[in-house]
């Protein structure tokens, strides 16, 4: 009796520390990942604590080899942490089986990749239908939802085109439609503009921002500061840890345009730097 009342108090106390009362969509607690490649052990993640709240637009940044890809794979449920806990919507999923993770990828996570990863033989519409196919949605509903989603990304007149009949920007929009068609909690975009020209990149980033404004939680993985600029929060990964240069929740006020970014960029500025983020 006294125990439970005590814990209630402590929970209330810990919640009070949080700036928001909403529960995080994603909560990583001391997540590590160790790869065993033969005799060599590679520690890719060395204890990541991360929370992402509904409606956030988070950029995960880091150089190659920093562990950001590993982190993305774990967040995306493509991989499991070696130790630590991963709560997705309050559910601990770090020890889920492969099939359970597949179901989470299907329903709770939408992927957008650098190289679009569309199925070449399938039309835009069929590509967008794919996640619904694996959730067992009946054909008619599948079609209708996929059409609707393609309409939302502005491709209503390209639905029956094959990927190679579409421009890069259009292909990425198909990929975004595919990622969102099953109403996932999180949109996970891995270098979404990496293979696009500046104009298409700008359009894709605008689209992501619009989606975020409509409430879509987005996690963006990139090494380009100009792309990350659109995100409300930046998480820098370095040597498998979250670097102290990362910005924190409600970062709008203290948006760090300074030191952290320039370090990562190595002074190379692409035309992408001119991307205008609607918010700023």
């Amino acid at each position: 009796m006294s125990d439970s009342s005590y814990s209630d108090v402590s929970n209330a106390a810990s919640r009070a520390v949080q700036p928001q009362t909403v529960r995080p969509v994603i909560q990583l607690v001391q997540v590590t990942k160790i790869y065993n490649s033969g005799t060599v052990q590679v520690q890719a993640l060395r204890g990541i604590d991360l929370e992402v709240f509904p409606g956030e637009f988070v950029a995960i940044m880091g150089a190659s080899g920093s562990g950001k890809s590993t982190l993305m794979n774990i967040i995306g449920c493509l991989d499991r942490p070696t130790t630590g806990q991963y709560f997705l919507q309050g559910k601990e999923i770090s020890q889920f089986t492969r099939d359970e993770l597949a179901s989470i990828r299907n329903k709770s996570i939408g992927f957008v990749f650098q190289n679009f990863n569309l199925l070449k033989r399938y039309t835009a519409l069929e590509n967008v239908e794919l996640p619904l196919l694996y959730s067992g949605v009946p054909k008619r509903e599948r079609r209708q939802r996929a059409e609707e989603m393609l309409g939302k990304v502005g491709l209503q007149d390209r639905m029956h085109h094959l990927p190679n009949q579409l421009s890069g920007g259009q292909q990425q929009r198909v990929a975004i439609a595919r990622a969102l068609v099953n109403n996932p909690k999180i949109l996970l975009a891995d270098e979404p503009t990496g293979n696009l020209d500046s104009k298409s990149s700008e359009q894709i980033m605008e689209l992501l921002e619009q989606l975020n404004e409509r409430g879509q939680t987005i996690i963006l993985v990139t090494h380009e500061a100009s792309v990350a600029r659109c995100a409300r929060r930046k998480v820098h990964i370095k040597d498998g840890r979250i670097a102290p240069t990362s910005s924190y929740l409600d970062a709008d006020a203290e948006y760090p345009h300074g030191e952290a970014e320039s370090k990562e960029d190595n002074g190379i500025y692409t035309p992408l730097d001119v991307i205008a983020c609607a918010r700023h």
Binding site: N73, G76, L78, D79, R98, D99, A102, S103, R105, N106, K107, F111, F113, N117, L118, L119, R121, L130, P131, L133, Y134, S135, G136, K139, R178, N182
Partner: protein, 407 residues
């Protein structure tokens, strides 16, 4: 994913590589084709054999002079069979119960002429009971009887082939006369057709006369070629055969340990031989089919492994959007089964065509059974599952991260 959706996905993938899919299933095609055509030809031949055995009479027992066959097939013991031998068999009370009757018969090959044309034919002399034993039916007229035998009447019955040759436009030449050498024979009956014997002789190319007529007016000699008998029931054939041997050995005074100087055979033995041959043929077919299906199956496994490698990226994408290991495994398994089944379908069709061609050119009857086709499809599907399983599991076990990174 629903099963139907899975089938669609798999068929889509196959349609992309139509040529390759077809080549891959060639092994199955050939295997199934061989089985279908061989079984069709084999059972057609078997069917014809049965038909002919039936027409000869399955209960038939034949007693020939000459026995104790050496390896060369030439009889080592020989004594003619006589009418007295036949009479002894007829008089035996046990045989009387088991057998329809015993008829001695003698053959005389000759050229017979009608007023229209002439024709080479075998004249069979026998007892009236021969029609009962051999189960001949009349198309017209009557059989000869004991009185005809006693007075060696110049009468005959003709088979359908003889009628067609000698009287092409007479459906019923009863009453007409034909000539064999100097002897005129009056046609008193026409027999219904019986077809060919298992050895290919046309049973309808025969003229039947009383045995005395043959011996006294045509062949001018007594040399019984055959005693013909038939058991009333197939189960009595063995016992009757033994009894016949015992009686004839006694009559011919053959010492124990010496070979028979005659030979008792039954059509049933021939039928048994047919069974044995069919069995061996079936074993042969199964062996050939197994080998070609093994080759076909390995072909499918090979192409599926290639396909899994080629489509690693696709597998990664599917896994990323939520395909379970089971979804992926089923997709590739269904592809393999569809490959094997399409091979089976082509094999069944080409097997039937091959069987028909074979039947046409070799003049063989063809019998394609639904059962064979069903088995062929079931086996094809089985081959697809068996050989498609490993590649499918390999695809399902792929790590999504690795698969997505695959170039």
């Amino acid at each position: 994913m629903s099963f139907l959706a899975a089938i669609r996905v798999a068929l889509d993938a196959l349609a992309v590589n139509k040529g390759r899919s077809l080549l891959t299933s060639l092994g199955i095609v050939i295997g199934i084709m061989a089985v279908i055509s061989m079984v069709a030809a084999g059972s057609g031949v078997r069917e014809r054999l049965d038909e002919r055995l039936e027409s000869v009479g399955k209960n038939l027992i034949l007693i020939r002079p000459g026995g104790g066959k050496a390896l060369s097939g030439v009889p080592t013991q020989f004594a003619p069979l006589t009418s007295e031998d036949a009479q002894a068999l007829r008089d035996d009370p046990q045989l009387r119960r088991w057998l329809v009757g015993v008829a001695e018969s003698q053959y005389y090959p000759t050229i017979v002429s009608s007023h229209i044309t002439s024709h080479r034919v075998n004249i069979t002399g026998g007892q009236p009971i021969i029609f009962t034993i051999r189960n001949w039916k009349l198309a017209a007229g009557r059989f000869y009887n004991d009185a005809d035998v006693q007075r060696a009447a110049p009468v005959c019955l003709i088979g359908q082939t003889v009628r067609e040759k000698l009287f092409p436009h007479y459906p019923n030449p009863v009453g007409e006369r034909i000539r064999a050498g100097p002897t005129y024979l009056q046609i008193i009956g026409v027999l219904q057709p019986k077809g060919h014997t298992p050895t290919g002789d046309d049973q309808d190319n025969q003229i039947f006369v009383p045995i005395t007529t043959l011996q006294e007016k045509l062949a001018y000699e007594k040399r019984i070629a055959l005693l013909v008998s038939a058991a009333r029931d197939p189960s009595w054939i063995g016992r009757a055969t033994e009894r016949i041997r015992k009686i004839l050995r006694e009559r011919h005074r053959i010492q124990p340990g010496t070979d028979d100087d005659f030979e008792v055979t039954s059509v049933q033995e021939l039928a048994n031989l047919g069974d044995t041959m069919t069995r061996y043929l079936n074993i042969l077919i199964v062996v050939i089919a197994s080998i070609s299906l093994l080759v076909g199956g390995i072909g499918i496994m090979n192409i599926m492994l290639v396909s899994v490698t080629e489509r690693t990226r696709e597998i990664g994408i599917r896994m990323a959007v939520g395909a379970t290991a089971r979804d992926i495994r089923n997709q590739f398994l269904i592809e393999a089964v569809a490959l094997a089944l399409s091979g089976g379908l082509v094999g069944v069709i080409s097997g039937i065509v091959a069987a028909i061609l074979l039947g046409y050119f070799l003049n063989w009857p063809i019998l394609v059974s639904l059962f064979t086709i069903v088995v062929a499809f079931a086996v094809s599907a089985g081959v697809g599952i068996f050989f498609g399983y490993y590649p499918a599991v390999k695809a399902a076990r792929l790590d999504p991260i690795e698969a997505l990174r695959y170039e």
